[in-house]
Every structure is written in structure tokens, then in C-alpha cells.
């Protein structure tokens, strides 16, 4: 790689030190570190250093570096070495600081044209700990080794500019190599390609009559990686199943499904709304801050790269980790502590999404012991005029215009490394695969792209993600051909060689096919929006991906070979043998036991107040948010869905809801998959959205493929494909990750079979959408849908007792669901629904708690009513995939009371109606029960007949609910 600081004589470098009079950031770090194993740390002082290169009067720049009201500036460090060790952290020499262009622009505006370059570093002084401890602490918490480093004291800088010399282009002959050698080479070079692919490349070399260049093999390996080519899914024929289901539904609103960077659904007034979900599990597991930041950056670019450029109008963050409260010694060797992944992920989401100016729709944090390799999912919602919703094919002669950030060393081998399973060793070796994100760069082109699009400058556009330039150009030019001149690619790291330029996954870049006659206009517009751009090649009619670099031809691959020759290894499937234990939970008998059980639910990681994370993300930017993540009185009740009014001044809405449950999958993956679809849709329908106007986005995360995994995965996909047809709600976008296995010391840790489903769709009038907070004391509460007092399998309640069980709730069938949804929509249409919510984790109890919290009112739940509903269903025998665990014909009072209160009856809905509402008239064919009533006082009551089994003040319950997540973060 040859990074070196090249000697440049006579250029002066001077540091400027800045401290804050009252440093909130330093204080926050001090508190965080004291709570995370460094109790002896007495003080932490933070000093920012600006390194300035050139002929510059630094005193003239002082106002730029410090506002004297809260900052002090000095030519000497203000840190007194006797007070404790100092650790200085800076970007690596080959990496450009994101602030550099801003500093140069402002300095030049102030008349200091002599400033040639600038860099930043941060000095942390720790009092009360040894130097070696400080160093360890810094490595663990304070910087990212891929792009940053510790600057050793006394280091002499010759220049600040990123310098280095690239490696030469290599020819690599695989001819004649045996299987073992091929496989060894594949790992050494981080291709991680299966033998079958290596053999195809070997044969290709023979046909070609020349060895491949390093760049060519790198391109083939990454294009054919599971991450990019979805080999596991292709081999099992899974995407085809979803596509076929969507085609069969032939939904009139679907504009684009499974073919662009996102899925598109017709909105109103000539607009289209889009959705995409993207996981970034591998990088988030090894470097959570960078991984999660770029997770957001990547999925937002998918929106910008939909059609001819959609505008992002909403986002989510969905994280699955091991238990953040786990003991340090229980963390698998080589994995990061989940508390660190959680807190870093929150910091990263705040760091990236807030500057992007995209409202947070859902922030979801869940845990499971299998997420040693974490789940890091983000969605992006977009808006685009219908006339721009379809890309065109680039035409020969179109310009390949690269916009956004410079290309660097970050993220090389991200595609191949994330396609392999993960060990402590991968964590070390492939740490360079983690990218760093700079939201300001992406924000610049997020503003510019709609302007370019509307000016007719975009024939086609796509984002640069996995595989970098090679993948974006290769995909866009697949039908024509493309010729790239790599010398024109702007670099932030001068030591990059050709293949690295092609594969770098540096963030915040997009590739646009610009009609040649529009190039000048595009460039002028981009200059006005201060977006960097470079014409790096042309689309051709050669049918080839070609690249030259420093007068050498480094790539010449036929598109047919690149996109058509990847061998798919057959994947055997075999039914897994699950070892599931039935639940064994004693039922609460006394008021004290009920109180304790309820508090366990409220304090559970999945149910507790997660606003300590959520309130760090802007939920109202863009002025489109109608119902944000938190609502009700005092804005602290989780809403359960998000509602946007994307067209200013129009009543039209977009509703979104997300379902993700890590506990269900290990019990019954296919049933879990169905339940996720139903939960997501029911959340939206409960609020009043018409399910005919909804579509779905799937994100799968499964262990490295084995016969049993292939079996489960196939059944999960078949289950949701079939269900989507039965419900008439199509999947239009999704993503799969088939590498959820972490190898630690000879033991493999698999993620639970995971599917997150997002439902999204249009709403004619946002004013008709109803939230879950109670509206009036004295209202009736109805529970509508199927209830099963024995189905506590996979529930939060069971998890609070460290059990998961062996069966899930059975929702009945699609016909029953549609009948329920139709009935609900009729109630909504008549304005009968005062509040509503979908039952999920934490059961009926959690929803009633939340509705009370959001209204300062209370709820009484009549136990026998719920029990009667269970009986009624059994008498009617309305559907059901399997018999209930309890013998048919048992008396209603034989239902478990805790099962009725805490059971997760996905597909059931709680509705608040007026006291005079007659359910029998409206819900004749639908199972329902009079659940209870809304109380004027903020109190929760569980009653049976006239007897109150348990009651508790909301204030006490709320305290239990607020604390745990906050404490984990603090």
C-alpha cells in the first residue's frame, strides 16, 4: 500500500489548539467511561488541534477556530502533562479529513490564501488512570482504527497532504492451479470466492489466451459474491418466488417491484412513493459507528438512485444485538460487547441521519443471544414524480459522471468480506472493509439530484455501494458497455492502485449516465450546489466493461461473462431438528405476583421506553411528519406506525409500520415470517389505513447456508410469498443477507432466522388516521381477532423467565384476517374508532399501558371477556393451522390468565369505541370481546367480574418502563 509521508521541504506546519470553557462532550465521555469499567477515571479534558500547512497568519484565522465566548485558542497545548496521560487521535495520513475543504474555503474567504492544507486531531487527557489503560480505553471507545490512529508524541509531520505511491498492476494466472491452491489464494487475497467460481475464472483465462489482471479477478469475485449476486438466494430460487407472487397479485398501484434500487408504489397527483430496506450487518459488527452510519448513507442512496432520482422523506433504524446487559466475560471471543454496538449505533444514527434532514420514522432495538454478528437494518422512504420513476438504458456516448466524495481506501473488500462468515480473525483482517460516512457530502447531492433530474440531465442513476465503481458502472452498462478512465477518478488516497480505485467502497458517491449534450448543464448545476463531479468514462456499444489506468488497459471483460457466467452451487436442503422445550411458567396468583409479572414486561428490553435513543433522531424535519415515533400527551407514547404528508398542503399520507421479532424465528421460522407480515400490516390497518393500498418490503437475515438453514429459508420465503398472494398485498422490494454466522473459538453462533417486514402505503386523508392513546374516559375497549391463552411461545413474557417455548400464536388464515381488516375499515369509515392499536410484544397489557400513558387516563381489562373470546373461537373452529395446546372443550376459565394478558396475538386489534357502540351489529362474523373500559384516572386494573385481581397506578408502572433502556445507555 506504501503509505508514506513524503518530504516536502520549506513548507511550514503549525498547530492551533482549541479547548472549550465548559465541554459537554468531554463531560459525556467522562460519565460514559466511568460507567463502563473506568470508575477510577477522575477527569477528562478534550483539546481539538487544527494543523495548518502553508504560509498563514494563524491569528487571522483565530475567529474561525474559536468563538471566545466558549472556546479558548492557543499556539501551545493547554494540557498539563502532569495531570495524566494524553492520547491524540487523528485520521491516518492517507485519509482526508472531512473538514479540510470547509476550513480551506473559510480561510480563503478571510483572505488567508496561503493556507494550503489543514487537518484535525483530538487530544484526550485522562486523570486518574495509567497511560497503558488510557490507550486501551481509547482503542476500545474513541476511534476507528481503519481510518484513524493514535498520533505518537513527538511525531514530525513533513506534509499534511495525503500521499503515497500506488502498487503496479499485476497479472494473475490461475492456469493449472489445483483446487487447494486456488482456495488458499482466494482467502489470502480476500476474494472469498467458492471453488466453482475460481474454476470458471480459470477456464475463462484459457479462452481469453491471457492471464487476468488483478482488477479483473477482483471485479469477478465481488460481482459474484453473495452480497452482490445473492448466490444463495439465486441458487435456491427464492427471489423468483417473491417476484412470481408479486406478479400474480398484479396490484394496480405497483410501479416498480424488485428491479430498481427501491420498490415504487403509485401515490396521488402523479407522484410515486418508494421504499428500500438494507442491512449492513458485517461492518456494524466490527466497527459499529462507521458501519451504522454508512448503513444509513447506503440505503438513502438507494432512494436517490431509484428511477431518475427520488428524494428521501423518511428513514428507520432497526438493530438486533446480543443482550447489552451481558457480562464482559460472556461476550464471544472476537466480538464486540453489544452495549458498545448499541450505544455506538445510536450515536452513528444521530450523526448521519440528522444532518441528512430525513425524519426518523421508527427506531427499533431488539436483542437475541444469536446476534453475535448483529442485525443492522435501515429503511429509506422516497418520493418522486411518476414521470421520472423509470430509468432509461444508457446510450452509447452517454457520459459516466461520478458525483460526490472522493475515492479512498475505505471499504475495500466490503462485498466479499461481508459475504463470508465472521470470526475474530476476519474482524482484524477485514477491518479495512468498513467505510466511514460523511453526511454533509451526501446531503449536498441529495439537494442537487432532484434539480439535475428536473433539468433532464439524468438518463440513469445508481449509487455506489458494495463493489464501488466497478459494480455501479458494470450494472449500469450491462446492456451496452462502458469504458472507464481511472486517472480521472478524484482520489482522497494517492496510493490507490487500479483495482482499488475500481473496488473502493468509499461512501457518498453516485454514478449518473448523462446525455452528452446535457453534460455542461449538469456540471454547472453541480458547481452551484457545491457537489464535486468527474466524468470518468463513456457508455459504449462494445458489450464490455473496460478500464484504463496510467496508459495500461487494466480491465476488459465481456458483460455477458460478468453477468452470465457465475456458477451457482446447488444447495442441499434438509429439515432441521429443533430442540424446543415447552413452556413451564407458573401463573401469577396474587396481586403482588401480577404486579411483578407486569413490571418484568415493562422493563424488558423490547417493551421498555426506548426514547433515550429515539429522541436523539430528528422526527419532524422536512415538515412532513403528521404522526411521529412518539405521540400522545407529552409525546412519550410509542406510536407504532409513522404517518407523513409528503405533498405540502395536500391531505394525502404515507403510512409505514415495521415488524421485527427475534424470538419467534427459532421456534418456527415460516410462522414467524407470516406473523411479521401480519403484524406490520395490522399496525397500519388498526390506525385506519386501507390494506388494499399497502405494499411490503422484506429484509432477511439468516445464518451461513447449511442444509437446515436452506430448508428454513426456503420455507420462510414460500410462506410470505403465499401469504402475500392470499392477502393481495405485494412485496415490492427487499434484501437478503445469508451470512449471519459468527465463529468464536471453534463454536459457531447463528443468528436466529430473521425477517423484518415493513408495510407502507398511501392514505387518502391523514386526518382520518387514528392513534392508540385513549381519547375519553368511559369508552368501551374491544379486542377483535383471535386470542389464544396458551400461545405464549416466543413472547416477551416467556423471555422474562428465560424461556422461549415450542409453539407460536396461530393467526388463523388470510381470509379471516381480511374479514377482520374489512370490518375495522368499516368502523373507521363510520368514525367509530376513537383509538386503536395492534397487539404484539407485551400483549394486550403493553398496548393498554401505552394507550393510558399517551392520554393520562387509565384502563380496566375484564379478564373473563378475553377468556370468552378464546372459547368462542374454539366453538366456531374458525381456521387454525394446528390444534391449540389445550384440549378442545376446556372451560374458558382454564385459559391461562397471564396468557390472555401477555400473549402476543399478532393480527388482533384493540379498539376504543363510544359507550353506546353496539359491537354485535358491526362485528357479527368477527371474533371480538368487550375487553374493558377507559378509566378517568391514570391507573391499570385487571378485573374478573366485580373483583379486581390487580391494580396499579400508572405513575409507578411508567417509572418501571422508563428506566431500563436509559440505564443500559448510561
Amino acid at each position: 500500500m506504501g503509505l508514506s509521508l513524503v518530504t516536502r521541504p520549506s513548507m511550514s506546519i503549525q498547530p492551533v489548539y482549541v479547548t472549550f470553557h465548559d465541554d459537554a462532550e468531554a463531560r459525556a465521555w467522562l460519565g460514559f467511561l466511568q460507567r463502563h469499567g473506568y470508575a477510577e477515571l477522575r477527569d477528562l479534558v478534550l483539546e481539538r488541534v487544527y494543523w495548518l500547512e502553508g504560509k498563514v497568519r494563524s491569528e487571522r484565522l483565530a475567529p474561525l477556530f474559536a468563538n471566545p465566548i466558549y472556546q479558548a485558542i492557543s499556539e501551545k497545548s493547554a494540557l498539563d502533562p502532569s495531570r495524566g496521560p494524553v492520547i491524540e487521535i487523528a485520521y491516518r495520513p492517507a485519509v482526508t479529513d472531512p473538514e479540510t475543504p470547509s476550513i480551506l474555503a473559510a480561510a480563503h474567504a478571510l483572505g488567508e490564501d496561503g493556507l494550503e492544507f489543514a487537518r484535525l486531531s483530538r487530544r484526550y487527557q485522562f486523570s486518574g488512570i495509567e497511560a497503558s489503560t488510557a490507550r486501551k480505553l481509547a482503542e476500545r471507545f474513541l476511534f476507528n482504527k481503519v481510518v484513524e490512529r493514535i498520533r505518537e508524541p513527538g511525531e514530525i509531520l513533513v506534509t499534511l497532504r495525503p500521499t503515497g505511491r500506488p502498487d503496479a498492476v499485476e497479472s494473475i494466472s490461475l492456469a493449472g492451479l489445483d483446487a487447494a491452491t486456488l482456495e488458499r489464494l482466494s482467502i489470502e487475497r480476500s476474494w472469498y470466492a467458492p471453488l466453482s467460481q475460481l474454476k470458471v475464472i480459470q477456464d475463462h483465462e484459457v479462452r481469453l489466451g491471457r492471464p487476468h489482471t488483478d482488477a479483473e479477478i477482483e471485479i469477478l469475485a465481488q460481482t459474484w459474491s453473495d452480497h452482490c449476486y445473492h448466490t444463495t438466494w439465486k441458487s435456491l430460487g427464492l427471489l423468483k418466488k417473491l417476484q412470481a407472487a408479486t406478479a400474480r397479485i398484479a396490484h394496480p398501484l405497483v410501479v416498480s417491484a424488485f428491479k430498481d434500487n427501491a420498490g415504487g408504489l403509485e401515490f396521488y397527483d402523479g407522484w410515486v412513493i418508494t421504499i428500500k430496506g438494507e442491512t449492513h450487518n458485517f461492518p456494524s459488527s466490527i466497527a459499529p459507528f462507521g458501519g451504522v452510519a454508512t448503513k444509513h448513507g447506503g440505503v438513502i442512496r438507494d432512494t436517490l438512485g431509484f428511477g431518475k432520482g427520488a428524494y428521501p422523506i423518511g428513514g428507520t433504524t432497526v438493530m438486533g444485538t446480543m443482550d447489552p446487559a451481558m457480562k464482559e466475560e460472556e461476550v464471544p471471543a472476537g466480538a464486540l460487547h453489544p452495549q458498545l454496538i448499541l450505544s455506538e449505533s445510536i450515536r452513528a444514527t444521530s450523526y448521519y441521519v440528522n444532518p441528512m434532514g430525513i425524519p426518523m420514522m421508527h427506531a427499533v432495538y431488539r436483542r437475541h443471544a444469536g446476534y453475535a454478528k448483529c442485525l443492522a437494518l435501515g429503511h429509506s422512504l422516497g418520493l418522486i414524480p411518476e414521470r421520472y420513476a423509470a430509468k432509461e438504458e444508457p446510450r452509447p456516448g452517454d457520459i459516466a459522471l461520478l458525483i460526490g466524495g472522493e475515492t479512498g481506501r475505505d471499504g475495500i473488500h466490503g462485498a466479499t468480506a461481508s459475504s463470508t462468515s465472521m470470526t475474530g480473525e476476519t474482524l482484524q483482517k477485514e477491518s479495512a472493509a468498513v467505510q466511514i460516512g460523511h453526511p454533509i457530502t451526501e446531503r449536498r447531492f441529495a439537494t442537487a439530484i432532484p434539480a439535475l433530474r428536473d433539468a433532464g440531465c439524468i438518463r440513469s442513476i445508481t449509487d455506489l455501494g458494495a463493489g464501488g465503481i466497478s459494480c455501479a458502472a458494470g450494472e449500469m452498462g450491462a446492456g451496452t458497455g462502458v469504458a472507464l478512465d481511472l486517472d480521472t477518478v478524484p482520489l482522497k488516497d494517492k496510493s490507490l492502485t487500479a483495482w482499488e480505485i475500481l473496488l473502493s467502497e468509499s461512501q457518498e458517491r453516485m454514478l449518473i449516465a448523462v446525455p452528452p449534450e446535457k453534460l455542461a448543464e449538469a456540471q454547472t448545476l453541480l458547481d452551484r450546489y457545491e457537489v464535486a463531479h468527474a466524468a470518468i468514462g463513456r457508455f459504449t456499444d462494445s458489450g464490455k466493461l473496460e478500464a484504463v489506468w496510467r496508459d495500461q488497459r487494466v480491465v476488459e471483460i465481456e458483460m455477458d461473462f460478468l453477468w452470465g457466467a457465475c456458477p451457482l452451487d446447488p444447495i442441499p436442503a434438509a429439515a432441521p431438528r429443533r430442540q424446543l422445550q415447552p413452556l413451564s411458567i407458573p401463573e401469577p396468583r396474587t396481586a403482588a405476583e401480577w404486579s411483578e409479572a407486569a413490571r418484568r414486561i415493562l422493563g424488558h428490553y423490547h417493551c421498555a421506553d426506548q426514547s433515550a435513543a429515539g429522541s436523539r433522531f430528528d422526527s419532524t424535519v422536512q415538515g412532513r411528519t403528521v404522526i411521529g415515533p412518539y405521540g400522545g400527551k407529552n409525546h412519550c407514547m410509542p406510536s407504532g406506525f409513522y404517518l407523513s404528508a409528503p405533498l405540502y398542503g395536500k391531505p394525502y399520507g404515507v403510512i409505514t409500520a415495521v415488524a421485527f421479532n427475534p424470538f419467534y424465528g427459532e421456534i418456527d421460522p415460516a410462522e414467524m415470517a407470516r406473523l411479521m407480515v401480519i403484524e406490520a400490516v395490522t399496525r397500519a390497518v388498526a390506525a385506519g389505513a386501507d390494506y388494499h393500498d399497502l405494499a411490503l418490503c422484506d429484509n432477511f437475515y439468516t445464518p451461513r447456508v447449511r442444509p437446515d438453514v436452506a430448508w428454513d429459508l426456503t420455507r420462510m420465503v414460500e410462506a410470505i410469498a403465499e401469504l402475500s398472494v392470499e392477502l393481495g398485498i405485494p412485496f415490492i422490494s427487499g434484501k437478503d443477507s445469508s451470512s449471519g454466522t459468527f465463529d468464536a473459538g471453534g463454536k459457531s453462533i447463528d443468528v436466529p432466522p430473521t425477517l423484518a417486514v415493513a408495510a407502507f402505503g398511501r392514505v387518502r386523508d391523514v386526518k382520518r388516521i387514528v392513534t392508540k392513546d385513549f381519547k375519553r374516559a368511559g369508552s368501551k375497549l374491544l379486542l377483535i381477532g383471535r386470542v389464544d391463552g396458551d400461545a405464549l411461545g416466543g413472547s416477551v413474557y416467556a423471555d422474562t423467565l428465560r424461556q422461549h417455548g415450542n409453539a407460536l400464536h396461530s393467526f388463523g388464515d388470510a381470509r379471516a384476517l381480511r374479514a377482520l381488516w374489512d370490518a375495522l375499515l368499516r368502523l373507521h369509515a363510520r368514525g367509530e374508532v376513537l383509538s386503536a392499536s395492534a397487539v404484539g410484544e407485551g400483549g394486550v397489557f403493553l398496548r393498554q399501558f401505552e394507550a393510558a400513558l399517551g392520554s393520562d387516563l387509565g384502563a380496566r381489562v375484564q379478564f373473563e371477556a378475553v377468556a370468552a373470546l378464546g372459547e368462542r373461537r374454539r366453538v366456531q373452529k374458525s381456521g387454525g393451522r394446528r390444534p391449540p395446546l389445550q384440549e378442545v372443550g376446556a372451560a374458558p376459565d382454564a385459559w391461562r390468565k397471564d396468557g390472555l394478558l401477555f400473549g402476543e396475538f399478532i393480527g388482533s386489534v384493540i379498539v376504543e369505541v363510544g359507550p353506546s357502540f353496539d359491537p354485535a351489529a358491526s362485528l357479527a362474523d368477527i371474533p371480538y370481546a368487550a375487553l374493558g373500559e377507559v378509566l378517568p384516572e391514570p391507573r391499570f386494573e385487571l378485573a374478573e367480574g366485580n373483583e379486581i385481581i390487580w391494580q396499579e397506578e400508572m405513575a409507578r408502572l411508567t417509572e418501571t418502563w422508563r428506566k431500563p433502556f436509559r440505564e443500559i445507555l448510561e
Binding site: N67, M356, R444, V621, A645
Partner: protein
């Protein structure tokens, strides 16, 4: 006809909803890129009012609002001086308020000489909250007729704690209020911990207003509150 300029730079991200809010008042507005002003393609004197919306201009590099402010003062000081001298209203919201403070326009119209700072929230975190604001007695066209009222609107920022070395210069226009309508130091009703519960101030003419919360996010029928629109309606009356 009066026109308002909405000035935006790389990283600004609240400009479109600001246009939408002004549309509701009948004020014609125009999005103006700071780059177009710097390169002479646009001039401030075409406009009767100006708004600098929220966001993270230039990535908040070196300090929130500082690069924007530096360019404004060093390159556009003359235009800006003329604009202010002509008695034209100027509003800075969130990052726009940070820009006005870093440029010295607030609290005392002393371009290039800072008299305030907006620093990191007491919590050390970005805070996304709904806030109540008590309108102070302040002879400002922006708040005329609203004195003593409570306005509800979203607030979302990481650096909103206001420091004034010479507090006599700052004329408080809006204060964070608790559920009883009283100014509060209590978190999170006061999301950033500013002393005196200061959420927004004007200069001594009342023409320049800076505030951290977002009136443009409480201006449309779809929003939970439309209290923010009252400030823009006052602008319409003043023009």
C-alpha cells in the same frame, strides 16, 4: 410585491418546508443558494425579508453555523449591512440562529464581532422534542400581538444552549415553558439547558429574530400544531 429570500447552503435541510410555511401566509419566497450570492448570480437587495433555515450548513464544521457565517461576513458583509440598514426583517431558525450568532448579527448587529454562542445541549445529545414557548414582551414585528401566548412547535438540535456574555444585549423573544406556561430550566421542557429558558432573541430593533425551535414545522394543517405559522403571518403583516 414583497419577496422573501430563503438562503440555503450545502447542509441546509429545512428550506423546503420553510417555503411551504410561507406559502400559507401569501408571502412569495424564493430559494437562494449561498453560492449564487457568493458568485454574484443573486443579490440580497431584491428581497424585502430573508430567512436562514435549519440544518447542518457545511457539516457544522468548526462549529455550528460558523462556516456559513464566515462566508456571509467576509464575502457578503456589504450586501448584508445594506439589507439590515434598510430595516428588512431577518429570521434565523436553528442552524440559521447559529449562523446569525456566529456572524455577530445577533444579539447586537455587530457583523464579525460575536456577542453570543449556541453551544452543546446540557445533555450532551441531540434532542428531538416538542416544546412550549412563552412569547415575551418584545417590540418585534415577528411576535407582535402574541405576547404572553404559548406556542407549541418541534425542536430538534444538538447545540442550542445560548450563552450571552453581556446579557443586556439580548432581547428575549421566546422562552421554553413548562406545562403551566412558566419559563423553565427543567429538562426536557427546556431541551438544551439554556439559562433563563431562552429559546429565541431579537436584536434591539426587533427586526432580526433567531430561535432554536422550528416554527415552519408547526405551520400546515397536517402538523400537530400550527402555532409556528403565527410568526410567519406576522412577517406577512410587516411586509
Amino acid at each position: 410585491m414583497s419577496r422573501a429570500a430563503i438562503l440555503y447552503a450545502p447542509g441546509t435541510n429545512c428550506h423546503e418546508e420553510t417555503v411551504a410555511a410561507l406559502d400559507r401566509t401569501g408571502i412569495a419566497s424564493e430559494l437562494v443558494l449561498l453560492r449564487d450570492l457568493l458568485d454574484g448570480r443573486a443579490r440580497l437587495n431584491r428581497f424585502q425579508a430573508a430567512i436562514i433555515p435549519g440544518g447542518f450548513s457545511y457539516g457544522d464544521h468548526l462549529g455550528a453555523g460558523r462556516i456559513f457565517a464566515t462566508l456571509l461576513v467576509a464575502r457578503l458583509g456589504e450586501q448584508l449591512g445594506e439589507f439590515l440598514a434598510a430595516g428588512r426583517p431577518l429570521l434565523g431558525v436553528c442552524n440559521g440562529f447559529q449562523v446569525l450568532g456566529e456572524a455577530g448579527i445577533l444579539p447586537a448587529r455587530s457583523l464579525g464581532k460575536r456577542g453570543m454562542a449556541l453551544v452543546e445541549n446540557q445533555s450532551g445529545r441531540f434532542e428531538d422534542r416538542n416544546v412550549r414557548l412563552l412569547v415575551s414582551r418584545n417590540e418585534s414585528p415577528w411576535t407582535r400581538g402574541l405576547e404572553g401566548q404559548i406556542l407549541e412547535m418541534p425542536s430538534a438540535h444538538g447545540e442550542g444552549r445560548a450563552l450571552f456574555p453581556e446579557s443586556r444585549l439580548a432581547r428575549v423573544a421566546l422562552r421554553y415553558a413548562d406545562g403551566f406556561g412558566n419559563p423553565t430550566a427543567h429538562y426536557p421542557e427546556n431541551p438544551n439547558g439554556t439559562a433563563g429558558a431562552v429559546a429565541g432573541i431579537t436584536d434591539d430593533t426587533g427586526l432580526v429574530l433567531g430561535l432554536m425551535p422550528h416554527p415552519e414545522r408547526a405551520s400546515l394543517p397536517a402538523h400537530g400544531s400550527q402555532d409556528g405559522l403565527k410568526l410567519f403571518q406576522n412577517l406577512a403583516r410587516a411586509l
